[in-house]
């Protein structure tokens, strides 16, 4: 009903992927976040090489350095640009190692949840009928409870430990993937090319993997990025509360928790810098995911 405006279609240059990529990077914010994310991943991957000190090697750390302010030099001779924590560990090193764990756990749980959720969602969409109804009931039930509550219940039941935390994170996320994938798959399923494949008597598994799946990928990517950010945040929260990863796997959440007691005496850097690292990670993932959603959404016009 709005005024008919005839606009020339954009010149369709290059593969769809290249087109979308160009659109993605058209936004300076998205580009910046993407670069930031790459840097963070790089730092996390190569932490042992980049950190001036391995903060968990007891031989290298001395309590003489405890609570050094940012910029002061420690006894090993290098300057601790972000200060030291209560046990004398260099904050920068601790953050690098912590990034590794936070990112690792977040991404790993995300990937597993994605695999499970996708399989379940595709099965539900493809089979339909009672299986679909049952799965969707389950998904709705789980999604009607907030993630933190589900995670706490699971931790209360399963106990503590790195593997239990992973299980909890996976269980919290799979439902989102399942629902998204099922939704897209249902839309795609009704389209003609699936009917055509059916008519050719292709085996169901082939139809699902080679035909349905590629078209369902786009929303999955968007949900994936946003869920990963959420998982990282959730793990940090659980670790902060003391019911997450154990002390042997110190994620950023634990670092922040350690710094809690020093807050009131003004030694902010022990909690502040890990928090910035966590914030940067989550935010860049969210910004990238946000932009992906805009770019991959066929209906959105601007």
């Amino acid at each position: 009903m709005s005024a008919a405006v005839e606009v020339l279609p954009r010149a369709e240059v290059g593969t769809p992927f290249r087109r979308r990529a160009r659109e993605f990077f058209a936004s300076p914010v998205a580009t910046g976040s993407f670069v930031a994310l790459l840097i963070i991943v790089f730092l996390a991957l190569f932490a042992p090489l980049l950190a001036p000190q391995n903060p968990y090697d007891l031989a290298k750390v001395t309590v003489m350095d405890a609570r050094l302010a940012p910029g002061e030099t420690g006894s090993a001779g290098f300057a601790m640009w972000l200060g030291a924590d209560g046990a004398g560990r260099d904050m920068w090193s601790a953050i690098l190692y912590g990034l590794r764990i936070s990112l690792g756990v977040g991404v790993a749980s995300g990937v597993v949840a994605l695999a499970i959720g996708t399989a379940v969602g595709l099965a539900a969409a493809y089979r339909g009928g009672w299986l679909d109804a049952l799965i969707m009931r389950l998904v709705d039930l789980q999604l009607s409870f907030p993630a933190i509550l589900v995670a706490l219940i699971l931790v209360a039941i399963l106990g503590r430990g790195a593997d239990k935390v992973m299980i909890a994170l996976i269980l919290v996320q799979w439902a989102y993937y399942a629902r998204t994938v099922r939704g897209s798959a249902l839309v795609e399923r009704r389209k003609e090319y699936i009917e055509a494949a059916h008519c050719l008597a292709l085996p169901p598994r082939r139809i699902v993997f080679r035909h349905l799946l590629p078209n369902v990928v786009a929303p999955m990517i968007v949900v994936g990025t946003l869920q990963t950010a959420h998982a990282i945040s959730l793990e940090a929260t659980l670790s902060f509360l003391g019911v997450g990863l154990p002390l042997t796997e110190p994620s950023l959440g634990l670092l922040i928790a350690n710094g809690f007691e020093y807050m009131l005496s003004g030694k902010y850097w022990i909690s502040f810098y890990p928090g910035i690292a966590l914030l940067a990670t989550i935010m860049s993932i969210n910004l990238v995911g946000d932009r992906l959603r805009d770019v991959l959404n066929p209906r959105l016009e601007r």
Binding site: F145, L152, A156, I157, S233, F272
Partner: protein
């Protein structure tokens, strides 16, 4: 009416299922006995202890025992405090509810107008700032924000107290409530803002808005009556569910600000393996959840007349 009854019944089923899951699950958690007994208790004393707490009966017996007691309001005694678990939870509930409702109000009062403004003028710099702020809002980990709030407002500036709770509805109480409520509200406020913006943007493009303007209505009326009523439906639905989320998430804020609510009790209980309290918390929370969902469903049907008619025909 049929609609309401059906929903109530569904809710009861959910509660029952959840209680089973919770009970069976918690039952598998470590062995609380070893935490509570001291090393020099004799074997006989240990056995009597176990019998007193009913830990030696088979699982399904314990479950039915639990259900029967639960119906009577008895969820067992805390292993740690020796008091009825339910009583402990209910004692702490008002504090948590106060915090959750305050955060809820903040999220609505600030989130909806900001979101609507951003939706009505999407290109303005203020609007872009609001959207950037909202991304920041839900990226910031709540517990860290809490710490920073304490750092800035309590330690450095000294304006507001950092921990504890004052009396309800007093100036002192409000001072203590301020930081935790803001902390808890931030995440939800960001979500509400984004939701309100999306809804407003969609509504503003609709023909009925243009028609309202064609009738010569003032912009204020167009926005506050026509647009708002249309976005209220999705916003209220999400908000209602978010209230439950707020109650659950208060666990974090309560820990940071030492706010004496249910959440802090839960965390401590998990660490101490105080099963009855964990179960009591989960039961109460699930119950609250289901009730809130029910109310939201009913509210939704009242706000959107099309839903009511559809249900009536069904």
């Amino acid at each position: 009416m049929v609609f309401v009854i059906r929903r109530v019944f569904q809710s009861l089923v959910v509660v029952l299922v959840m209680s089973l899951v919770v009970f069976v699950g918690v039952h598998l958690v470590g062995d609380p006995v070893h935490i509570l007994i001291s090393d020099d208790m004799t074997q006989i004393e240990i056995e009597r202890f176990i019998q007193k707490l009913g830990l030696d009966r088979p699982v399904h017996e314990q479950y039915f025992h639990f259900l029967a007691n639960a119906a009577r309001g008895d969820l067992g005694n805390s292993f740690v405090f020796g008091e009825p678990a339910l009583k402990l939870i209910l004692q702490r509930m008002p504090a948590t509810l106060e915090l959750a409702f305050a955060a809820f109000l903040l999220a609505i009062v600030f989130g909806i107008p900001l979101g609507m403004y951003a939706g009505l003028r999407p290109e303005s710099p203020a609007s872009k700032a609001i959207m950037a702020g909202s991304i920041l809002g839900f990226s910031l980990p709540t517990f860290w924000v809490g710490l920073m709030l304490i750092m800035v407002f309590a330690v450095m500036l000294g304006w507001l107290p950092s921990t504890g709770r004052g009396d309800f509805m007093t100036w002192d109480g409000l001072r203590h409530l301020a930081l935790p409520a803001i902390n808890l509200a931030l995440f939800k406020m960001a979500l509400v803002t984004r939701l309100a913006r999306a809804g407003t943007r969609e509504a503003a493009l609709q023909d009925y808005v243009k028609f309202a303007r064609a009738k010569g209505l003032s912009p204020a009326r167009v926005v506050l009556v026509h647009v708002l009523k249309n976005i209220l439906v999705p916003v209220v639905t999400v908000l209602g569910l978010e209230l439950g989320g707020l109650i659950a998430f208060s666990v974090v804020t309560e820990t940071v600000f030492a706010w004496p609510g249910m959440g802090k009790l839960l965390i401590d209980s998990i660490q101490r393996l105080d099963r009855p309290v964990i179960v009591a918390y989960l039961v109460i929370t699930v119950l609250m959840f289901v009730v809130i969902n029910l109310i939201v469903d009913i509210l939704y049907s009242m706000l959107d007349p099309r839903v009511r008619l559809k249900e009536a025909k069904a």
